[in-house]
Symmetry: C2
Subunit: 127 residues, 2 copies
DNA sequence: CTAACACTTGAACAGATGTTCATATGTTTT
DNA sequence: AAAACATATGAACATCTGTTCAAGTGTTAG
C-alpha cells in the first residue's frame, strides 16, 4: 500500500504521511545540498581553519602562513588550493611571492557562529 | 611538536617577522580550533545536511527521516548520533518512537550563511 | 510471558582525505 | 644564459568516514 511516494521503509504505523508531504517540497535541490556539504567540508579541517584564522588578521604569503602554523610549505599550498576552489580565499602575485587573503565576509560569519556554538554547548564541560 | 620560533621554513627574505609577531598572539588555542573543525566536519556531509534541512521544518522520528531521504534507518541513526554528539539535535522519546529536533539556532545561521556563499559565488556558473 | 516494533550499535568494507616527497612552474637576480 | 627563490602539483601512503549487515536495546501490544 504505497500511500505516498515516500515511505515503504517503515509500516504506515510509523511514517506520518502528512508530515512527509509537507516537508518534502521544502527541501532544496540535491545539487545545492551537495554543494553546501562540500563547502562545509572545506571548513572541517584544522589546518584550513587555522589558515582562515590567520587570514582574518592580515593578507599573507604562503611561507609566512607555513611559518606561523609550523607546517610544510607544500602542505599549506595544497590546502590553499582547496580554499581557493571554494572561493574562500583569493590570491595576488607580487614578484615571486603570492599573497592570500579572505575572499568573502561569509567566512567570518560562519566561523563566528561556529565558535559561538562551541562556547555555548561544549565550552563549559566543567563550569 | 617543536614549538620553535616561527620561521626556519623560508629564509628571512620571505617571512615577515613583524606580521608573524602581530598575528600569532591573535590565534585561539589549538584545542578550540580543533573543536571548531570537528563541528564543521559534522556539517560536511550530504546526509547530515539533508537531515538538518528536514528538521528545519519539523520535529521528526527516525523512520520518517529515513523515508524522506530514502535511506536505511540504520544509516540515519548513525548520522543522528553524530549530530547529537555535536549538540546540533536533541531527541525525545514517546513510546516506541524517538523524535529528533534541532537543538540550536546557530544551525540555521551557519547553514544559511553557507547557502548565501554558494548562491553568490558558485550559483551563477552559467548565468 | 512472547511477539512485534522503533531504534541503536558494532564490525567490516570501500571510498575519501591530508601529509610527505620529489619534481615542476614561474619570477627575479646575476 | 643560469641560479636562486616562492610556490604549485602529482603520486603514494596511512588514516579517517559513511554505509551496510547483523545483532542488540527498550517499549508496547496481545
Amino acid at each position: 500500500m504505497a500511500r505516498s511516494k515516500y515511505a515503504e521503509v517503515c509500516e504506515e504505523v510509523c511514517t506520518h504521511p502528512e508530515i512527509l508531504g509537507r516537508v518534502a517540497p521544502e527541501m532544496p535541490d540535491e545539487e545545492r545540498l551537495y554543494d553546501l556539504a562540500e563547502l562545509f567540508k572545506v571548513f572541517g579541517d584544522t589546518t584550513r581553519i587555522r589558515i582562515l584564522y590567520v587570514l582574518f588578521e592580515s593578507e599573507m604569503c604562503v611561507c609566512d602562513i607555513a611559518a606561523l602554523l609550523n607546517m610544510t610549505q607544500s602542505a599549506i599550498s595544497h590546502q590553499l588550493r582547496i580554499l581557493k576552489q571554494a572561493r574562500l580565499v583569493r590570491s595576488r602575485r607580487e614578484g615571486k611571492t603570492i599573497f592570500y587573503a579572505l575572499d568573502d565576509d561569509h567566512v567570518r560569519t560562519v566561523i563566528g557562529q561556529g565558535m559561538e556554538h562551541i562556547e555555548e554547548k561544549h565550552g563549559r564541560k566543567r563550569a
